[in-house]
């Protein structure tokens, strides 16, 4: 009966409550006037207490009966949620920042890449559904900001931030944190960037022992990825979370796919990354954790994750939309320094928004762009394949929508490539491109070396190359043309490279290279190729080449196999999109090139009289069928201006144009008319004149003509 509508098993729950409250089983037994064996039986799950005893237990733990019955949260007994700052090293060592975080600048695009890759790696594969990732930019001001600061115990943190700010001048991390705190106070706002994933494994495992939770929250440079196809391998990705926070603060709420302590929902913890500091006479090593003090730790000071109730989670802006497993990361004080670089060229922008690194609309735009660029393939399905990933981005201010939730659509972000991949999945590719919009597929060999430095080839993996020309201009989007996107099993774009040596006039195209498990289960040596390429990826996951791992596991020259693949790919692309070179052209290439009529920069105009040009023309047909024109002339700077003759002609398809006579030609401003010639005073820059044609000189009805007006120098014949 006690099991109805309950969260956790009674036994483990009670054990933890006792620990939190600092009570022993014997003490509880005494309070309840029961034997120790009875308590022990509850904790090991051999029996459950009677309903009447439940009330006594609640009393003993200082909570209400409901909590004991539902057990969805911990009792508030024991030690309250707090910040635990790691004490300074006894040897006096100082860490002035997290080295892993230095590898990245605050760049939401890098964050998008790393977090999305993590979510892809942690996807629950059994149900075949995609992992859903949602980015929420939330700007807090006024009361909402005050409430949030209270929820994270800002007053306890503030002395630490002040201490860091004081020594900011000589540390990189210190300066960033100092700027972050000042921005919050001066502008009265705080940007939260939340990354949620659903249908992912969540932060499972013990608080301290090996497991995903400890890998993310407690350790650095540890990667515990779920499979051989995984994108990440260095454990650096999580550092981007802290790097994106100007305050070095990230809060986490995870729903677990595998229960821990009998529970799955609302496992919450926060982690702060600050440099070494001295507060109140004590020195602190750097990191700090936000959680419930662990009674098992020395002095019960270390903060561990706790199972929060819904209200706490809401106050921390960590509410998850469903009970699907996955993790929410809340980056407090998100900023995007890299966005400044992007509009470095537009000097106009700078004056408009003063280079704000915390503009949520701009971050929204940059996130959508980066996600489309790096993950279009993972978001694309077709044939029997479902997409692996669904991503959306939204922006809020104090709970009000600023930019509505936008699902990143691969066919909008990368139309040509998405079309190519879909055609591949649906088996609709062709061997040669015969019509615009077709997708050509080609096998490209990757010869895998033997591991351990042995000479020779393990086998040849067949990668799949897809090439399609851009069916129309819109398909290009704003990206570069003629690029090959390379991907492996996790279908994140690893490498983007142009194809060199394309002949002039090659039709714009986009290409996709599927290697390893992305090439399909049937491809030979897919697993081995996958492993090989994963080892060849640097921490940035943006190319394949020489790495330490490649050297250690294969040989120092193993990367040449990748170069050979690139060469094969480029020549296959050229073969598909460029016409074959036909018979040697007579007279040599150099001469043929010299004899091509092509536009050269024009010679400089000599000094002397300047020639006015027609700048604007307004013409209507008058009541008598004559053309009435008003024309504007612009004149280059010059002392002497050539007199010009306006000539009205009728446009024809071929042959000479019939000229119309003027019935009237009148100067309006900036010029004089003399015998049909326009004369300009020296120094004039603009002029205007009016005219009417002589109907009797019209060869056809005016309504059926097209008028051409020209200014001619000299006599105008």
């Amino acid at each position: 009966m006690a099991r109805l509508d309950t969260g956790e098993e009674f036994g483990p729950w009670l054990a933890r409550q006792l620990k939190l409250a600092g009570k022993t089983q014997a003490e509880l037994a005494q309070e309840l006037e029961l034997t120790r064996a009875a308590i022990s039986a509850w904790i090991t799950g051999r029996s459950t207490p009677r309903p009447t005893v439940m009330a006594d237990i609640a009393k003993a733990l200082g909570t209400d009966v409901g909590t004991v019955h539902t057990r969805t949260t911990d009792t508030q007994a024991g030690l309250p949620i707090t910040w635990y700052h790691r004490p300074g090293y006894p040897d006096g060592g100082r860490d002035l920042g997290n080295a892993a975080a230095f590898a990245f600048d605050a760049d939401v695009q890098v964050l998008a890449r790393e977090t999305c890759q993590n979510s892809l790696d942690e996807r629950l594969t059994e149900n075949g559904r995609p992992v859903r990732v949602r980015y929420t930019l939330h700007e807090l001001t006024g009361e909402a900001l005050a409430a949030f600061r209270e929820a994270i115990l800002w007053n306890d943190l503030f002395p630490h931030y002040s201490a860091v700010s004081e020594s900011a001048g000589n540390q990189k991390v210190g300066r960033v944190v100092d700027a972050g705190v000042r921005d919050m106070y001066e502008k009265g706002r705080l940007v939260l960037l939340r990354v949620d994933d659903y249908n992912a494994s969540g932060l499972i495992g013990d608080d301290y022992a090996d497991g995903k939770f400890a890998a993310v929250v407690r350790r650095q440079l540890e990667s515990l990825k779920s499979g051989p196809v995984a994108g990440g391998s260095y454990g650096l990705g999580k550092a981007t979370l802290w790097a994106t926070s100007a305050l070095g603060l990230v809060l986490i709420n995870s729903t677990l796919s595998v229960p821990h302590e009998g529970r799955t929902q609302r496992r919450v913890i926060g982690r702060l990354e600050l440099p070494w500091r001295e507060v109140g006479g004590e020195s602190y090593a750097g990191p700090a954790w936000f959680g419930r003090p662990d009674p098992d730790s020395p002095g019960a000071r270390v903060a561990r994750s706790w199972w929060a109730d819904e209200e706490t989670v809401a106050r921390l802006h960590l509410t998850r939309e469903s009970d699907e497993p996955g993790t929410s990361f809340l980056i407090v004080g998100a900023h995007d320094v890299a966005s400044l670089e992007e509009d470095g060229s537009g000097a106009d922008d700078e004056s408009m928004d003063d280079g704000d690194t915390r503009d949520i609309s701009r971050m929204h735009k940059r996130l959508v762009k980066a996600l489309g660029r790096d993950f279009w393939a993972a978001m694309t399905g077709g044939g029997s394949r479902l997409p692996l990933l669904e991503v959306s981005v939204r922006a809020l201010r104090n709970g009000q929508v600023v930019v509505p939730e936008q699902k990143v659509d691969p066919s909008a972000e990368q139309p040509a490539r998405t079309r190519a991949l879909r055609a591949h999945y649906e088996g609709a590719t062709v061997d040669r491109l015969l019509e615009a919009g077709q997708v050509a597929a080609r096998g490209v060999p990757l010869k895998l070396p033997l591991s351990g430095g042995a000479r020779g080839t393990l086998g040849t993996h067949q990668a799949v190359l897809l090439v399609t020309d851009l069916a129309n201009d819109a398909e290009n989007g704003d990206g570069a043309q003629n690029q090959v996107h390379s991907l492996r099993g996790n279908r994140m774009t690893v490498k983007t490279a142009g194809v060199p040596n394309l002949p002039l006039g090659t039709n714009p195209f986009q290409a996709v290279l599927l290697v390893g498990e992305a090439a399909g289960e049937a491809a030979p040596f897919a697993k081995e190729a996958e492993e090989f390429l994963r080892a060849a990826e640097p921490p940035e996951h943006d190319r394949w080449g020489q790495t330490d791992e490649l050297t250690l596991r294969w040989s120092p020259s193993a990367y040449r196999r990748i170069n050979a693949l690139t060469t094969e790919v480029n020549s296959a692309v050229r073969e598909l999109v460029a016409r074959p070179k036909r018979g040697a052209s007579e007279g040599g290439v150099a001469l043929r090139k010299a004899l091509t009529v092509k536009t050269k920069p024009k010679a400089k105009a000599p000094s002397g009289p300047v020639v006015p040009v027609l700048d604007g023309l307004d013409a209507t047909v008058g009541d008598d069928g004559e053309w009435q024109i008003t024309a504007e002339v612009s004149i280059p700077r010059g002392d002497e201006i050539v007199p010009m003759v306006p000539v009205a002609q009728l446009d024809v398809r071929s042959g000479g144009r019939p000229t119309l006579d003027w019935a009237e030609l009148v100067a309006v401003e900036g010029c004089e008319v003399e015998d049909g010639v326009l004369r300009f005073a020296p120094g004039t820059r603009r002029a205007k004149f009016r005219g009417r044609t002589d109907v009797t000189s019209h060869p056809v009805r005016t309504m059926l003509t097209r008028l051409v007006l020209e200014l001619r120098a000299g006599k105008g014949e």
Binding site: E586, V597, L617, S654, M703
Partner: protein, 331 residues
């Protein structure tokens, strides 16, 4: 500036070629690869497949009208979209009706048949959106702003006109007229469809030098030779073009349309800088046919040819590598 006496669309029609196929004399069809056309250069090269016996070509087209073409309050009715192929040399115009892809859409598509016998070289392909305006049928509402080129001969879809280069033994050539120039290393013929440079294979080593693609002094000398040849060629084609102008009823010259027009448009700004090409053509024509000024213009024409031939650069490279050679032999 051009003005129409009725309302039109301001923006141009966008035209794309989507496929090209050839009909051969034996009745079979050869669907060419998309490399037969270049969307960047807006050029179709029908000679690419190397067929000598094709009869006609079918060019698949897709056109997008500018916004507003389907506006319910538009000044036109009975909208039609036509692809028009114009060959100014043979004076042939071929047109084809395109059909709307979707009801109320702005995309139209269709295909155009190009008969080989109708053309000798390059024809231009444009799309017109026409309708009935104020009761007048077939008025143009919008056009493409840059025509596609359909080249029935070329094997490369490049827009820039390439002058022809041929090698021949002047003494033994079947072109008997070449024998008169047996002692010249090269000669320019501007009377052909495209100006052609004949290189005399009787001059030993000339072909070898032109074909060389090393990077030593050889290549520098080759570049100098190429510069010398192309100066000759550009001078000859300019005179060829200016000497053969059609004249308007009023006496002014008409801008030629084929290679002559392209050559003039390219060179006139260097011959008479700071003047619009139409005006420059009138001035040059006046000087050539009038009493004075033609002799003075020769320097300008020579200058324009030298610039086009990159003679200065070629000369500088030769001198530099000669100096280098001298220094090396000294040490």
């Amino acid at each position: 500036m051009k003005i129409y006496p009725y309302k039109r669309l301001n923006r141009p029609v966008v035209l794309r070629v989507t496929s090209v196929s050839l009909k051969l004399s034996d009745g079979t069809r050869d669907q060419l690869e998309t490399t037969a056309y270049s969307t960047q250069q807006q050029t179709v090269a029908l000679g690419i497949a190397g067929h000598t016996d094709w009869v006609s070509a079918t060019i698949g087209l897709s056109a997008t009208l500018p916004p507003g073409a389907n506006a319910p309050d538009a000044a036109w009715s009975d909208l039609r979209v036509l692809a028009v192929l114009t060959d100014r040399e043979t004076n042939v115009r071929t047109s084809a009706d395109l059909t709307r892809d979707a009801e109320d859409g702005r995309d139209w598509s269709g295909s155009l048949e190009v008969l080989r016998d109708d053309h000798v070289g390059r024809a231009s392909l444009a799309v017109y959106a026409v309708g009935t305006v104020d009761g007048v049928r077939g008025r143009s509402i919008a056009e493409t702003d840059r025509s596609w080129l359909v080249d029935t001969v070329s094997d490369e879809p490049v827009r820039g006109l390439q002058l022809d280069v041929q090698k021949a033994s002047f003494r033994k050539s079947s072109r008997e007229w070449l024998q008169a120039y047996a002692d010249a290393p090269w000669i320019v013929d501007t009377s052909a469809r495209v100006p052609t440079v004949f290189v005399n294979t009787d001059v030993e080593g000339v072909i070898g030098l032109l074909d060389s693609n090393g990077s030593g002094v050889d290549s520098k000398v080759r570049d100098l030779l190429v510069a010398q040849m192309s100066t000759d060629v550009w001078t000859a084609v300019f005179h060829g073009a200016i000497g053969d102008l059609e004249v308007e009823p009023g006496g002014g010259p008409v801008f030629p349309t084929d290679w002559q027009g392209e050559v003039l448009r390219e060179m006139l700004p260097d011959v008479l800088p700071g003047v619009q090409v139409e005006e420059a053509l009138r001035q040059v024509h006046r000087r050539r046919t009038g009493e004075s000024g033609w002799v003075e213009l020769q320097t300008r024409i020579h200058y324009a040819a030298v610039r086009r031939a990159d003679a200065t650069k070629a000369l500088a490279y030769v001198i530099r590598s000669l100096e280098q050679m001298n220094r090396e032999s000294e040490t």
